[in-house]
Subunit: 642 residues, 2 copies
């Protein structure tokens, strides 16, 4: 059993085979440290908050048969418990832990007592606040059960299936009983159940789950839900999925739905589903995604905007939406083997995803701006739970709607599964993270300080099959990648974005991949109005930002320009939070806008002077921002050609 | 009795004396036609909708003593009835009407029956949905009563005070009874009652009303309200008004509060209040106001953004907020006599305010974008009531929250009061609209096609006092204003933004003011990130936009630039909705972005070519947009120096 989040049952429609957490183990470096902290710091933090915010108590009360009392938190708080359980299941897949197993057992016992005789479980409905399946549009009942199923599937893949899996399966069965064979015409307002049901089919082989997933994909888009305040497109119910051309509406819902769509494709091979998902992914990446991996421009409706609507300041950029893109891109990578999907995962992980969590891994951003004009107050560290509006200047410990933190946790815990894949005669390395990869034909040891520096060493530790192909992704940002085998230049094939080395491998063979990553300035598509006339600093996969914390005193980041013809310089620093970091300095202009005075507008040609003094601007990785107290920050800097 | 919305009782703290609707009468042209339509089309439309949407029915049920039934619409729907009544009162101030008087009497009878013995009135509370004064934070009880008082004051000023005034006064008295002398420590979440109480003081002379207004201004900002989801700054309860440096939070609330603050100043002369209002007004106008008069950048919280946060696409720009700025600027103009306040009123009226309403005057925008990238569906013309999210491509007839339409109505009905003022020895003309002005020292006839063309003729019809000063505002956008008297060049004094002509006037004297208004290109402050690299077309007070409706077929307004060194040309057109219109043509570039393909980003220096073909771009006044069906629209156009 492969212990990974997506394990297609059919092999007819996949280009690549996923590897599980037992096969890919992070050994060292930044991501391995995050995994350690995820287990040692974030997990107990989350378990404590789930008690404190009432999420567990809600389920306990349901188990007691209590009705009429006050449900604490949002009506879909059960899902936070389930996502945390899924994260812990993947942690157990990385290494056993008595404490974590006990937490799973305890929470599962609470859920087991809450679960009704026919398998139904939802603490809000059982608390008497709503009737079962009465408000699919807003009720999130299937969404919650979807997360329960994902937790159960993780448990099954890691342990072979304990009580958590049984609770999940019973819940799935009541959904099948009440919804399958079009016994209900509608579906849940928040997609999630679709991919969960496909996964449950994968571990059970029971086609009823797959069939229901297909049905729920099929009915959506035909106006089967009560139109939302924000319109039917808000939850992707305005256009059938096979006809949709771009991502619309609530970003997390749209991307979760597409995960289910690709999952159904991976099992059924229905090309129209893959085509729609690819089309929407392409539209997203060409016109609606930020450089830092943010998706979903609008606070209102937590939604995708129009094409090229990419405000850096007002962007919503929910952490869960970027995770949704990772989940979707991973499925498309498995389906097609094309590197652009792994590129997108890299962009997401090294930037927005990494920025979502504080370096102590116990603080989280729900929404992720690419520009902050003022120092907002720091997040309270104790009991309060700030919400997204006027989000604080640092990462809060938890949220009233706590969808993001456990979503981060389950992604970090299962990160190994996103690094590499196998085929019958090859191994593909998608992300460059220190790890051991046990992939059928061979075992590899990946050693690298990437992206601190540019080289990745892959050592063949053991070989099971003499001739096979090692495929190494060349990120799209990289020009001039080179590769050596045992110190000699290799001449690999370049296919689908990968350098392919095919040969008879021997234990001890060492491949060194070099991905030159000089700092560079990046501009946006000319139709991206909010970014016109600006540049962003990037180095390798890392997007940088200017944070007020690092600037000379006379620099106000709201009145600064970057002199684009001057050189960018790298500096390896050890004094920043989170360990070794490459910072970049540029030459800027601290613009003196005082001549504008009270004037907001001027006639072209009569503008007040906008000169200033030359300064050194210091850029840090975007993911580090707001780890040293509240700050003014910007990713996109006005460009001046001097 | 001066029939105008703001008539200070004290003359110690005013620079200018307002004139009433009996003294300033619009005679001709665009605004006079709107007044006619306001009376003949909008008013019956609004009265019908108030019946249809349940607002009147709510009050009728309260009169019947019905409780427990369903309240229709928002819990503050009473205010829509009151604002409509205020509008009708001002209409009656312009000219009597049996029909309109009957409507006032009928609605007042409904309110009179609803009103409780002690004067309290609120259909939502009386419907049993909430207890009296129980939720000041969100309940809008004082907000509604404030609008009732304003309607009553209008009635009193126009008719001398009928039953509407009596109902309003009784309602005010219960507020005084329960709140004055700090009998309650708190205030309403939505400011409005403050200015209403000052106005009631003005017509009654009863200082209890003024004292309570002062109290409610004083307590606010001390955290007296339950913190809102969006924070205490949302309703200006985070910082005391005398300490506040800029406009914060919900834009309408902030501006309504400041109206009350200036009103208290106008009666008490407390300088700290005026200083705060001026400080906040200046901050607003330098850093948070759009070229078209939009204020309040954010959908979330309907709020002001940070300084220079001026996205043209995502701007909220509520119609009521711009009306709030007109109301505030008018009070500051009365207080100071400085033309910048009249400039702001002009900017607001000729652009966003005019754009808020369809040319048939029965459709309304709630929020007002300065850029629309896609053609949204047209608003349904019948029963549905679209809300602001994903606002439709044309103006809906009404809203579930119908604050904007009657706010527009009352402003149009009382427009005469905003055109001119008087002093002991002078007349000041602030807005150039065809009208007769009867202002103490003389009667003037103002004739003009402004802003279709640049000249304003002012004929002295009758003279009561031989020597006095005629002051004519020179808008800030205007260079080279000239003035003649009886055909001869005059040499006026220029003071506070006005050309002052002091002489012994005789009946028949004719002044001609010429305000040259060649089309011009305007740029934003360099810190306005969302507008970097763009220009807007203006002519006189009118902001223009490019609307897809007028462009050559090959022009996609999302991929277009304006060649700024080419001439702009004016065209007088008679074929557009709303009558004669000056359009402006410019030379543009229809940019071919196809080389970018699926790419959203490029390394600086390696960008795909962005050439295209030269085209003629046609600009129409912004206020006309979306009157010819849904369109793509933009005010700010990327600039190219070719």
């Amino acid at each position: 059993m492969t212990a990974a989040p997506v394990v297609p049952r059919s092999t007819d429609h996949t280009a690549l085979r996923p590897l599980g957490l037992g096969e890919v183990r992070l050994t060292d470096g930044w991501w391995a440290r995050w995994q350690r902290d995820n287990r040692d710091a974030t997990t107990p933090h989350a378990l404590a908050w789930l008690e404190r915010d009432g999420s567990v108590e809600n389920l306990r009360r349901a188990g007691d048969g209590a009705t009429g009392g006050k449900h604490r938190g949002f009506w879909f708080s059960d899902s936070d418990v389930y996502k945390t359980l899924e994260a812990i299941a993947w942690e157990l897949g990385r290494a056993p832990s008595e404490g974590l197993s006990r937490s799973v057992a305890e929470l599962t016992a609470v859920m087991g007592r809450a679960q009704q005789g026919d398998g139904y479980i939802n603490s809000y409905v059982q608390g008497g606040h709503e009737k079962r399946w009465e408000d699919l549009t807003n009720g999130h009942e299937l969404y919650c059960i979807g997360h329960l199923i994902q937790a159960g599937v993780a448990d099954q893949r890691v342990t072979g299936g304990g009580e958590l899996f049984e609770v999940a399966k019973r819940a799935a069965d009541v959904v099948v009983r009440d919804f399958a064979d079009h016994r209900r015409p509608d579906t849940d307002g928040h997609p999630e159940i679709e991919m969960a049901l496909v996964e449950l089919y994968r571990v059970t082989g029971d086609r009823a789950y797959l069939g229901l997933a297909q049905q729920l994909v099929d009915v959506r888009g035909h106006g089967v839900l009560e139109p939302h305040h924000f319109g039917s497109a808000y939850f992707q119910d305005a256009t059938p999925v096979r006809e949709e051309t771009t991502v619309v509406g609530h970003a997390v819902r749209a991307l979760y739905l597409l995960c289910g769509v690709v999952d159904v494709y991976l099992e059924t091979g229905e090309r129209a589903l893959l085509d729609s998902a690819v089309r929407q992914w392409e539209s997203l990446h060409a016109t609606k995604m930020y450089l830092n991996g943010a998706v979903g421009s609008r606070f209102e409706g937590e939604a995708f905007g129009d094409e090229y609507e990419l405000p850096p300041d007002l962007v919503y950029g929910e952490t869960c939406a970027t995770i949704g893109n990772v989940m979707l891109s991973w499925r498309l990578l498995l389906a097609t083997g094309e590197s652009r999907y792994a590129d997108s995962i890299e962009r997401s992980l090294f930037n927005l995803f990494a920025a979502s969590t504080s370096v102590d891994r116990c603080g989280f951003f729900y929404n992720n701006p690419a520009q902050r004009r003022v120092k907002r107050p720091a997040a309270p560290t104790d009991g309060e739970r700030p919400t997204r509006a006027d989000a604080p200047g640092t990462r809060p410990p938890w949220f009233a709607c706590a969808c993001c933190p456990p979503n981060v946790m389950r992604t970090v815990a299962s990160l190994g599964a996103y690094l590499a894949t196998a085929t019958g005669d090859g191994v593909q390395v998608h992300q460059y993270v220190p790890a051991t990869v046990d992939a059928g034909p061979a075992t590899l040891e990946v050693r690298t300080r990437y992206p601190l520096d540019a080289t990745v060493e892959l050592r063949v530790a053991t070989v099971d099959s003499p001739e096979w192909t090692l495929a190494l992704r060349v990120p799209r940002w990289c020009a001039g990648a080179t590769v050596t085998v045992n110190g000699e230049a290799a001449e690999p094939l370049f296919r689908k974005g990968y350098l392919e080395l095919r040969r008879s491998w021997r234990a001890g063979d060492t491949v060194v991949l070099t991905l030159p990553m000089p700092p560079r300035l990046t501009v946006a598509h000319p139709a991206a109005d909010a970014l016109r006339g600006t540049v962003a600093i990037e180095r390798g996969p890392v997007v940088y930002c200017l944070e007020s914390t690092d600037q000379e005193e006379c620099v106000d980041l709201n009145h600064v320009e970057l002199l684009v013809s001057r050189p960018l310089e790298e500096h390896l620093r050890t004094d920043l939070p989170g360990g070794e970091t490459v910072t970049i300095t540029a030459t800027g202009l601290a613009r003196d806008d005082s001549a504008w005075s009270a004037q907001g507008w001027a006639t072209l040609g009569d503008e007040p002077s906008a000169e200033g003094r030359e300064v050194t601007l210091t850029a840090v990785p975007y993911h580090l921002w707001a780890n040293r107290g509240p700050s003014v920050m910007r990713v996109f800097v006005p460009a001046r050609k001097l």
